[in-house]
Each structure stands twice: as structure tokens, then as C-alpha cells.
């Protein structure tokens, strides 16, 4: 897996308007492959924005993003989607599971447009749910899951296309201490599987965990410090 590099990244919301907001301001950072990096900082420090820029969810107002030698920031939307699908798995703060469909279907969702054999996909989704200890909840509707189960379902969904990079935004925000620790155990397992993990969090249980390789502290859209 290649390194993810962000050079002179600036992201401005509502540019030119009176309520313009500079979320990320001239950030340059390299995110190493197969390592676990945490973006730490208070609310409004630009962590989530930087995370979505790194994951090709949004485009920077200025600056360039490289995945290895390939520049991503200039790619058209179609290619960005393709990159997002093949290289990144996302775990959102609100988990963002689709209500009304089963846990299993939620896990399978990112793989649907790839057109792989349905039975193989189903099998793989089951394996992931078993891996996270929620195999018994496969047919339960997403809205019936507890916080921890929803978290693990979201993680299984992020892994269904076997992406090299996992991006997690405040993954422990809705979890108690025990479940947060369990999540960090899962992160440790992802590291063993040679995945690159980028987490935005202001939870000490996350950025102080032994499994973390690097912590980047952010404030007011800028990088304040790098701890390795």
C-alpha cells in the first residue's frame, strides 16, 4: 500500500460569503501505509474535514492529494468514486447504517456496484460479521442493533471490499468505555492485517491506545503537533 500525502491543503466552506469558514488551512502531512494514525483535536479543529479530504469524499479548495504517485485531487468524480470504493473503507461517527434492511445487507452494500457473485459476497459478509462476533444478528434490522453492534456492523461494512485504508471518524463517540476498548482491539486486528487506519478522535481511549503509531494534533484547521 502506498503512502497518502496531502500537500498545502486548504478547505474553505461558503467561500466568498460573509460566513466563510476555513476548515483546513495549508496542511501538509504524509500518512504512512500500514500504520495507525490518529487525528486529535477539539471540535471544529478540522479533523473530520481532513479525514474526508484524505478519503476522497470531498475536494480541497486548494492543494494536492497524492496516493503514491497518483494525484487524486484533480481526478473527475467518477474516478474518485472508484478510488473511494477500492481503496477506502469508512466508519462514520453516526455509523450511518441504512435503516429497514438487515445487518447483512448493510455490510454488503459497498460491494453491490462491483458486480461480484451474490453468493460469494453474502458468504464474505457473513464471515465478517462472525469475525466481529455478531454473526447471530445478520438478519436483524439495522435499527434494532445496540450501539456496539452497530459499530461492529459499520466496521464490517468498511471491510467488505477489502480496502487497504480504513477511515474512522470519532468511532467511539457513542460507545461506553468497554465497547471503546473492544473497538480498539478490532483496530489492532486491522493493523495485524496490514491495513492503514486513519482515525479522527478526541477520545483519550483512542489516541492513548498502545496500538496507535502516530498522533497528529490539530487546532483551528492547522496541524499543531506530530507525535510518533
Amino acid at each position: 500500500m502506498m503512502m497518502l500525502e496531502l500537500k498545502n491543503i486548504r478547505k474553505v466552506f461558503n467561500q466568498g460569503k460573509s460566513y466563510e469558514l476555513v476548515a483546513v488551512d495549508e496542511v501538509t502531512v504524509s500518512l504512512e501505509a500500514k500504520k495507525i494514525t490518529v487525528l486529535k483535536g477539539p471540535s471544529g479543529s478540522g479533523k473530520t474535514t481532513l479525514l474526508s479530504l484524505a478519503g476522497c469524499m470531498a475536494r480541497p479548495t486548494s492543494g494536492r492529494i497524492f496516493l503514491g504517485d497518483r494525484e487524486l485531487s484533480s481526478l473527475p468524480e467518477r474516478f474518485l468514486t472508484e478510488i473511494r470504493r477500492t481503496h477506502f473503507g469508512f466508519i462514520f461517527q453516526q455509523f450511518n447504517l441504512v435503516k429497514g434492511i438487515s445487518t447483512l445487507e448493510n455490510v454488503m452494500l459497498p460491494a453491490y456496484p462491483l458486480g461480484g457473485p451474490h453468493s460469494a459476497l453474502k458468504k464474505h459478509a457473513h464471515e465478517l460479521l462472525e469475525l466481529f462476533g455478531i454473526g447471530g444478528r445478520a438478519s436483524s434490522k439495522a435499527e434494532w442493533l445496540s450501539g456496539g453492534e452497530a459499530q461492529r456492523t459499520a466496521t464490517a461494512r468498511a471491510l467488505i471490499n477489502d480496502p487497504p485504508v480504513i477511515i474512522a471518524d470519532e468511532p467511539t463517540a457513542h460507545l461506553d468505555t468497554k465497547l471503546s476498548r473492544e473497538f480498539m482491539d478490532i483496530v489492532g486486528r486491522l493493523k495485524e492485517q496490514q491495513k492503514t487506519v486513519i482515525i479522527a478522535s478526541h477520545d483519550p481511549l483512542v489516541y492513548e491506545a498502545a496500538v496507535i503509531d502516530r498522533v497528529i494534533t490539530m487546532r483551528d484547521g492547522k496541524i499543531e503537533g506530530l507525535d510518533v
Partner: protein, 378 residues
């Protein structure tokens, strides 16, 4: 190719489970949609089948019917005209016809009464249509009295009741012998209701019609094609009434589908955002929305057309009977021969399925072009 099929299958799978989530809303939509297609298709099938029936009935009709016009009105035609018409080249046979209407004050119904070319029974006998048989409670070998023009009742012996296959045209029909007809209406022996002509070559019909007007200036020739056209316009006019009534239903449907189409709920928008965030392309989302619209509109279309088929051809269009058939008292009880015009069905398809599917896709396209990043912030 295989992966393309799997992709469609996966997306259809997801679409179906998506639809089942909003069960109430989708079932209501499905019902309204089916009802609309059912009503429109019923009108279409019915008028088409009737027109076809009329065309079949007229297949053996004479090529030209000659009437006499006096003071701008239709009048009985003199017997001597037959000799004049017989002399026209190309005319193979000329026959005077006697027919009229009889108002039956007992049941308040109008019958058509006529003298057939070969009436197999004697004077005093009558054969009646099944509609007449029903309202007069008369069966074979019963006696029925009819009141003549001078107030005297004539008793007829019912020799036969027509079979139901010909009921569309024969329901209100009475057939009598020539002397009985003339006695009933006081028609002189020198007069006929009209005269029919058979022509050897159909291409000569317009020329013969012109000759008739030259030879008999007070005569009006009516060709078979004109009769057929009149039938068609009557049925078109009647189906027009139904369609006008249905316009309300169509408008209601447009409002429902516009509401559904233009107003993606916050949940639906969020869902589109999630799909984009997990790697669905805009085109995948549109494909899903296309299938969603197609599943609802296609199943409603098929159900509506199927129900209309049963309604028209198995229940004789029970809902439209009073308007479309137009008999006052004597409703014919008959089954139309099933007939579907592919052109009309495809028109209905393009007027219902296509607009709905497009209406479903457009707002989703708007929602699908937003940055998936917004999901991160919700």
C-alpha cells in the same frame, strides 16, 4: 457481461428491500396507479372491441344505402326508385328495406323493428332479440301484443329468440313479415324505408353514388364506409366522455407522483448520501431509482391492463355499461371478442410507465450529485 448482470441483480435486490421498507406509501401508490391504468385500459379495450364488432357486423352490409330527403329531413322512399337504380351499371342488386322504431310504453323501451330479406315465418309471426325477451318476459311460442299506428293491438306469435352472439346489434330487434310491418305502421305499399344496393367493384362506389344523386336529386346515398365512420365517431365520443371523467383521476395521479418524485424525504436523501459515501457512483444510484420506479410502474401497468382485460372481456365492462353502450332500457348482455391493439397498449405504456419512471429519477439525480462528504457531518 456476467459482472454486469450480477451488478443489476444486486441493485434490484437492494431496490426490492428498499421498497418493502416504505410499504404503506408504496402500496398506496401501487393501488392508485393500478386503478388509473385499469380505468384507462378498460375504456381503450372496450371502445376498440366495440368498433371492431361494428366493423364485423357491417362486413356483410350493403355497399350503398339510398334514402330520400325531403325538406332536409329523411322520408320514406318510393318503390319506383328501385327500377331507376337497377339501371345503373355495376349495381348487382337493389332491394327496398322496411325498418323503424317501436316505442313500448309498457316497459318504456324502444325496439328496432324490421323486415328481413327472407323471413322464414308467416304473417302474424315474430322473432325477437334477447333484450326484448327479457323486458317483455316473452319466450318462444308466447304471444305478444304490439299496438299499431291506429291504436289497434296486433297479437304476434313469438317463433324465435335470437342467440346471444349477435346481441350487440340484435338485443332490441323485432323481425316481422312485410304485410305485418305495413299494417303496424300504416306504411303504403309504394314506400320503403330505404333502398340498399350491392356493388360488384368497391372502387366504383363513389362513381355510383354520384350517378344516384344525378338520377334522383332528392336521394341521398350513404356508403358503407360512411356508416362505419359514424359508428366509430359515436364510440369515440362516448369514450371521450369517460376519458373526460377520468381526467380528474389522471390529475390526482400526477399530483401524487409529482409529490413522490419531487419530494425526496430527508431519510431518502441521507440514504443516497450513505450509498455515495460507501462507494456507489451517481449512475448506480440512478440505476437503483430507475428500478424502483420501474418496479412500481411496471407492476401497476401489468395489473391494471390485466384487470381491464378481465373487466371488459369477461364482465362485459360492467362499470361503463350505461355510458358506453347507450341503450336506454335494453342493455345487451354479451361478451366482446377479446381484441388488443398493440399500438394502443404501447401508447398507454408510454403515457404511464415512462413519465413516472423519469419523475422518480430526476430528484434522485439532484440528490446523488451532492458531495458524499455531507454524510460525514450529519
Amino acid at each position: 457481461m456476467h459482472s454486469w448482470i450480477e451488478k443489476q441483480r444486486n441493485i434490484i435486490d437492494f431496490t426490492l428491500s428498499s421498497l418493502s421498507r416504505r410499504k404503506g406509501k408504496n402500496i398506496a401508490l401501487l393501488l392508485v396507479y393500478t386503478l388509473l391504468v385499469f380505468l384507462l385500459a378498460s375504456v381503450m379495450f372496450f371502445t376498440h372491441a366495440l368498433k371492431r364488432e361494428a366493423a364485423l357486423t357491417l362486413r356483410d352490409a350493403p355497399e350503398i344505402v339510398v334514402q330520400r330527403i325531403s325538406e332536409g329531413r329523411y322520408e320514406p322512399i318510393p318503390r319506383k326508385y328501385i327500377a331507376v337504380l337497377n339501371k345503373i351499371k355495376g349495381v348487382t342488386s337493389v332491394r327496398g328495406r322496411l325498418w323503424g322504431y317501436y316505442y313500448d310504453s309498457v316497459v318504456g323501451a324502444n325496439y328496432t323493428i324490421m323486415v328481413p330479406e327472407n323471413f322464414p315465418y308467416k304473417s302474424g309471426d315474430i322473432t325477437i332479440g334477447s333484450g326484448v325477451s327479457r323486458v317483455r318476459l316473452a319466450v318462444k311460442d308466447d304471444m305478444i301484443p304490439l299496438r299499431a299506428y291506429d291504436g289497434i293491438s296486433i297479437i304476434f306469435h313469438v317463433r324465435d329468440v335470437f342467440s346471444s352472439e349477435s346481441e350487440l346489434v340484435a338485443s332490441d330487434l323485432l323481425l316481422v313479415s312485410e304485410p305485418d310491418y305495413r299494417r303496424l305502421f300504416g306504411t303504403s305499399k309504394d314506400l320503403f324505408t330505404d333502398i340498399t344496393l350491392k356493388v360488384r367493384n368497391a372502387k366504383e362506389i363513389p362513381t355510383i353514388a354520384e350517378k344516384i344523386v344525378l338520377l334522383l336529386p332528392d336521394a341521398r346515398p350513404i356508403t358503407k364506409r360512411e356508416i362505419l365512420r359514424t359508428y366509430e365517431s359515436i364510440f369515440d365520443w362516448r369514450s371521450g366522455i369517460i376519458v373526460a371523467i377520468l381526467t380528474g383521476a389522471v390529475l390526482a395521479f400526477i399530483i401524487v407522483s409529482w409529490d413522490k418524485a419531487s419530494g425526496l424525504s430527508a431519510d431518502e436523501k441521507k440514504e443516497i448520501g450513505i450509498l455515495k459515501a460507501v462507494g456507489w457512483e451517481t449512475s448506480d444510484i440512478l440505476l437503483m431509482k430507475f428500478w424502483e420506479g420501474a418496479v412500481i410502474s411496471l407492476s401497476s401497468f401489468l395489473a391494471g391492463v390485466l384487470l381491464a382485460y378481465v373487466h371488459v372481456f369477461f364482465t362485459s365492462a360492467i362499470l361503463f355499461e350505461p355510458v358506453l353502450k347507450g341503450w336506454s332500457v335494453l342493455y345487451p348482455e354479451f361478451r366482446l371478442v377479446p381484441f388488443i391493439d398493440p399500438y394502443q397498449v404501447s401508447t398507454l405504456f408510454f403515457l404511464t410507465v415512462v413519465p413516472y419512471t423519469v419523475a422518480t429519477i430526476i430528484p434522485s439525480w439532484h440528490a446523488a450529485t451532492i458531495d458524499p462528504d455531507s454524510v460525514m457531518r450529519s
